[in-house]
């Protein structure tokens, strides 16, 4: 994919060129929105909204990482969504059981002692990470999603999160510290191979 050429064509109003960029980056934007909003439907809405506003604001893109530029639009869309949700909360924050009653803790957190040998599968690992991310303030969650999950470097992540570099460093450090504490509860359940990888320093 010749990204610069596609971006140039898209900037001239070529929707086909833009849609090829959409296909290339939709997973990254959707995953970012999903981690920040913790809701599949809202994440899909934010992703769509982000691509729409990206197309409209395409002429304001002035080089640099296009992925970081797109992630900035999806971060904005997520913040808009969170503001809307704050104004009129529609769903309980705790998951509901089948009979509609709120549960104290989701079933996937229910019994960590069941089997120490049992390995967390991908879904459980994802749930554990999301659970710990949700415990963070949004600003901290955003920087850690951009830097550690999406792999942006400091400069790109700071641009995408619209914060100065110093703020980014500080928030990232704090977020990692708190996530480490939260993930501690799941640590024993992580696959042995993964633990070794983590200890070796990924």
């Amino acid at each position: 994919m010749d990204e610069p050429a596609l971006i140039r064509d898209a900037q001239r109003g070529d929707l086909d060129a833009f849609n090829r960029l959409v296909l290339a980056y939709q997973d990254a934007l959707y995953n970012t929105a999903l981690r920040i909003l913790s809701d599949e439907d809202l994440a899909a809405d934010a992703t769509q909204e982000a691509f729409l506003s990206a197309f409209r604001a395409l002429n304001s893109y002035r080089g640099g990482s296009f992925k970081a530029w797109l992630l900035r639009t999806v971060t904005n869309a997520c913040y808009d969504e969170l503001r809307r949700r704050k104004r009129r909360p529609t769903a309980p924050l705790e998951p509901e059981s089948d009979d509609g009653e709120e549960m104290d803790s989701p079933s996937w957190l229910a019994d960590p002692s069941a089997s120490p040998e049992e390995q967390l599968d991908q879904a459980e690992l994802e749930h554990a990470i999301q659970h710990c991310l949700d415990a963070l303030p949004t600003d901290f969650k955003t920087v850690v999603v951009l830097a550690d999950i999406q792999g942006l470097d400091y400069t790109e992540a700071a641009r995408a999160a619209r914060v100065p570099l110093g703020t980014l460093k500080s928030r990232l450090a704090r977020a990692r510290l708190r996530l480490r504490e939260c993930l501690q509860a799941f640590w024993e359940l992580l696959p042995t191979a993964f633990r070794l990888e983590g200890e070796r320093g990924a």
Partner: protein, 215 residues
């Protein structure tokens, strides 16, 4: 030595290779001497390792934009600058024609009725101004057809002034019997313009759709 939050910030940046060389050297010598600091670095490294392993979901659907979503409209046909006014002109002609047509049909009966009604109305003590308008009615067929309040009587004739003038010029009997050629020409012109405008629009829309499907 106690690990401060400033240390955690340094360790986090160190982990990402974002620490200036001088600070990096200083931190490394502290790490060698301080097991608590080394443990903190290890914890941050583990947190980052887990986050990097976050399972990536596939997008639940494609988020490509349609021309409609992107607000791209079909191109305006080349003849459009002229034809975009065609429907407005057609409407104006239609209204004028309709007015003139109605006048042609009803002016005779209405005029006779008004002539008869005028004296009675005047004797009845109606407003003087209205009575004056009514007595003038037989001369001006436009006024005669509508027994409306004065304000309307004064404004209504304006758009139809031309046909009225034509109708009023020849003797009244002749004007009522012969159909003015404008009554035929105007509606035809209006229909023609409207048809042309719609056809051009439709053809251009079809071409746009065809092009969009091809893509």
């Amino acid at each position: 030595m106690k690990t401060t939050f400033r240390d955690i910030e340094r360790l986090s940046a160190y982990l990402d290779g974002q620490l200036p060389q001088a600070e990096k050297t200083r931190l490394e010598s502290r790490l060698a001497a301080d097991p608590a600091l080394a443990a903190a670095l290890e914890e941050l490294r583990q947190a980052r390792a887990i986050l990097r392993r976050t399972p990536q979901r596939r997008a639940p659907r494609n988020f490509t934009l349609t021309p409609k979503m992107a607000g791209i409209r079909p191109p305006v046909p080349r003849a459009a600058p002229v034809l975009s006014w065609a429907s407005a002109v057609a409407m104006l002609l239609f209204v004028c024609t309709l007015g003139a047509n109605l006048l042609g049909q009803f002016s005779f009966g209405a005029a006779a009725h008004m002539e008869a009604a005028a004296p009675a109305h005047g004797i009845g003590g109606g407003p003087v101004e209205e009575a004056q308008v009514v007595t003038e009615a037989p001369l001006d067929s436009a006024n005669a057809v509508t027994p409306t309040p004065k304000s309307l009587l004064l404004t209504a004739p304006e758009p139809t002034a031309e046909p009225d003038a034509r109708a009023a010029e020849p003797p009244q009997e002749k004007a009522r019997q012969s159909v003015s050629p404008w009554l035929v020409v105007w509606p035809s012109l209006a229909a023609l313009l409207l048809g042309a405008a719609l056809l051009t629009r439709w053809v251009s829309l079809q071409a746009f759709k065809k092009k969009a499907e091809k893509k």
